[in-house]
């Protein structure tokens, strides 16, 4: 079973990398960009097929390692 974890910066946290990317997009002539925030995506494959169990494990993974909850939010997609 495949799962995806998306980690994003909490709103209000300054994202200098996102800002730099935003500037680069503008200089490339990509129009209409109001802002860019950079995040991370983790594709995780589970051996079994139990979605509830996988979700619980991913929750643990996010809290313990994948996200720093001081500055980041996470979303689990199964």
């Amino acid at each position: 079973m495949k799962a995806r974890v998306v980690v994003t910066l909490k709103s209000g946290i300054l994202d200098p990398q996102g800002k730099a990317i935003e500037g680069a997009l503008k200089s490339l002539g990509v129009e209409g960009v109001a802002s860019v925030r950079q995040g991370k995506v983790f594709d995780v494959e589970f051996a079994g097929g139990d979605a509830n169990a996988a979700k619980a494990q991913l929750q643990t993974a996010c809290e313990k390692l994948l996200a720093n909850t001081v500055i980041e939010n996470y979303r689990i997609e199964l």
Binding site: I13, L14, P16, Q17, A20, K64, L65, L66, V70, I71
Partner: protein, 229 residues
Amino acid sequence: MKTAVVVFPGSNREGDMARALKQATGREPTMLWHADHELPAGTDLVVLPGGFSYGDYLRCGAIAGRAAIMDAVRAHATRGGLVLGVCNGFQILCESGLLPGVLMRNANLRFVCRMQHLKVERNDTAFTRHYARGQTIEVCIAHGEGNYEADDATIERLEGEGLVAFRYCDSAGNVGGDANPNGSRNDIAGIYSEKRNVLGLMPHPENLIDPLVGGTDGRALFESLASAA
């Protein structure tokens, strides 16, 4: 004073740290590996040195913060034992939960490697008693992620309880402004834990212990520690 330095895959300042500890305490530190589970009996001070543990993968210090040895470091800190984290060591302390907050990418997105002045906020701790209160010292910095960030409540608590250890300043001792190299909140360069037995800082005092390399302002930190136990 019995000291130990934890080496993670990718640490690179452990040699400098060992030299500074030996100079101040007269004894070689024990070098520990990240996969060890215990500190040597009677360890007074554990040091997490600078470097790029695990290649800075995921987040700086994130994987090292969950290494096997960190349970022993946490237990040592809970007992009131002394812990020092420098640069990547500071990042590891934040990621492991031993210190609050997080070190983010420098606000100007550049890796900064240069000499830097710091203001010593207080001199009544195990780490700073050989400095004067408010003293300006010159050490060096070398980091890409030293931008200290925490939520407002945490910053308020750090300030209110006197847990800020060092702030970035210029040679005249003026804190902040252009002297802040990375955008850190309140110009914070280092912080203490609640009981002030854990110190994390981005600058490298261990590199300023010999006149040969341009200064000795880092020495007092290690001499303070040497006289602490």
